[in-house]
Symmetry: C3
Subunit: 228 residues, 3 copies
């Protein structure tokens, strides 16, 4: 399995991504060392200058680490992140150039938004030279889209994801934006197979033990009585 396949398996199992906009490279290491043992995927947002250094710090220390580069908006950022060894690329919109780069390296690509779920699947299929059915079967880690924002100002967009699963059966949805411990139960109920992403998970980055305890609460909320 390549890194994208491995991180996708992790996303399907624990269904939780912790989003970190690092102030320092060290924060990335702390977040990774705290959350990875729980099976939680770390996404490091490129909206911070410390992001690239943080990604390198994690991958230098743990070459097999499975981490996501987030808020990747330009093709050269995607190239740089992939060459550093990230397992996947997340964006805050659907940027065709970024998807191009990801498919070129066969790397998990998670574009985001509220309206381009189909477009990005079609682009991926075209780039792999197959149809949508084959994309889903051969490259299941590309059968994914980020609903962003999932919740904004109290208003939920989650119904959109339900609708997309009509034409794009089994589409994996990452719910990002506005997801907190307070509304997680409701969000999980709306998509019992969803993958959830929150920056709230890393807000206690200065107190790793507290962060770890909070992360466990998220996992309990998602998986309930099931063995996690």
């Amino acid at each position: 399995m390549n890194k994208s396949q491995k991180i996708f398996a992790m996303l399907k199992e624990k269904r939780l991504i912790a989003l970190l906009t690092p102030k320092t490279a060290d924060e990335c290491l702390i977040a990774y060392e705290t959350l990875q043992p729980l099976g939680i995927v770390l996404e490091i947002a490129f909206r911070s200058e410390a992001a690239m250094d943080g990604i390198k710090a994690v991958l230098n220390k743990y070459p097999d680490a499975l981490i996501l580069a987030g808020t990747v908006m330009m093709a050269d950022q995607a190239e740089a992140a992939i060459h550093t060894g990230v397992a996947g690329i997340v964006s805050a919109d659907y940027i065709a150039d970024v998807v191009d780069v990801c498919v070129k390296y066969d790397i998990l690509s998670i574009p985001g938004g509220i309206s381009d779920a189909g477009k990005q699947l079609v682009q991926k299929a075209k780039l792999y030279g197959c149809d949508l059915t084959a994309l889903k079967e051969k490259y299941p880690y590309q059968w994914i889209y980020k609903l962003f924002p999932a919740i904004s100002d109290g208003h939920s967009n989650m119904g959109l994801a339900k609708a997309w699963k009509g034409p794009f059966k089994g589409l994996n949805i990452v719910y990002t934006g506005g997801v907190t411990l307070d509304n997680l139960a409701e969000v999980v109920k709306s998509d019992p197979e969803g993958i959830f992403c929150g920056s709230a998970l890393t807000k206690s980055i200065d107190e790793p033990e507290k962060m770890r305890m909070e992360a466990k609460k998220w996992l309990e909320m998602i998986h309930g009585d099931k063995k996690i």
Copy 2:
């Protein structure tokens, strides 16, 4: 009149599309023979493998049949459907490649989504070599967009369609996703010239007479006391 002009006239008159994801080619024939006499347009969704066979079955038996191919996401699907003789192409997102093919053959193209109403009109105008005013006048069947999802998880997106009609006056909207007999009255009230599409219309495909009676209820709800 070509097939696209004819089906557009039908859509403007009865304003109802029955969406079928066929399990067998035969189901397409049953749905067509039951709903066509009522003036209801049949859309056959490509998300099923029986779709292409079903479209062929209808068109072999009724060469003048006016049917829509739905969930068409790739250019080659659009080409194939058009060569089979469909009167129009519906998509579950706005896919520029699919619109390219449709305009090449001057076939009704109904891209869908919640955000690309203007983009697809501009692309169509460019391809026809005209401006938006001329597009609306010369190719009225292309002055159309599918609001998808119209309703999702109880939340209505229909206000978007109202807003689009500011810059794109008289835009024909197909309301798809979440439209059922229970909310049809409300949906119709929101757009008294709207075109409505529901898969609920074909859920009784195994009992054609029941399907026919239900379809009549939809028509009554849309047209009220007016002669239908």
Copy 3:
């Protein structure tokens, strides 16, 4: 400062755009002469045939006038409006061709919609040959997007704008569609740095003094006790 920088400064100060779909060229002159002294930016919508004549009438009489061309959907419309001397281009969707033309002339470009905030920033950055951070710093008047519709059928989309400000910090938002004096207080509260646009501001175009008084009410609602 070029015209785009000047109109952007005006937008940042009074934060109000009056949208006019002119019936005659004269109406543009009346609206400009009434609203410009209040610091309100006039947007003349291309959805009317009198628009181009009206823009020319204003710019012939006031060569330094700072006005926006609105509902610009095609590249050649953008070219024509820019050659006439407008200070910026507003669209009712994100049309990549229109953004191309605007950046070519380094003219303020305000694409609109509910889902392409990031795409258009990325396109602008690519065309200027820089990254998003540099775009924001060097071309702050391009760090902008129009939320359209802001409000539709009583439903607010303003939470989307809040969410975008996560990945696109400090993004300037123009709130268009459904904004009236009745809901302005609520809209302003949702984004205390927002720019607001309403066609309601020009509905009394036949009674300029009434239009002026109404416009002052909008300004008071936006700026409250602050000196305006």
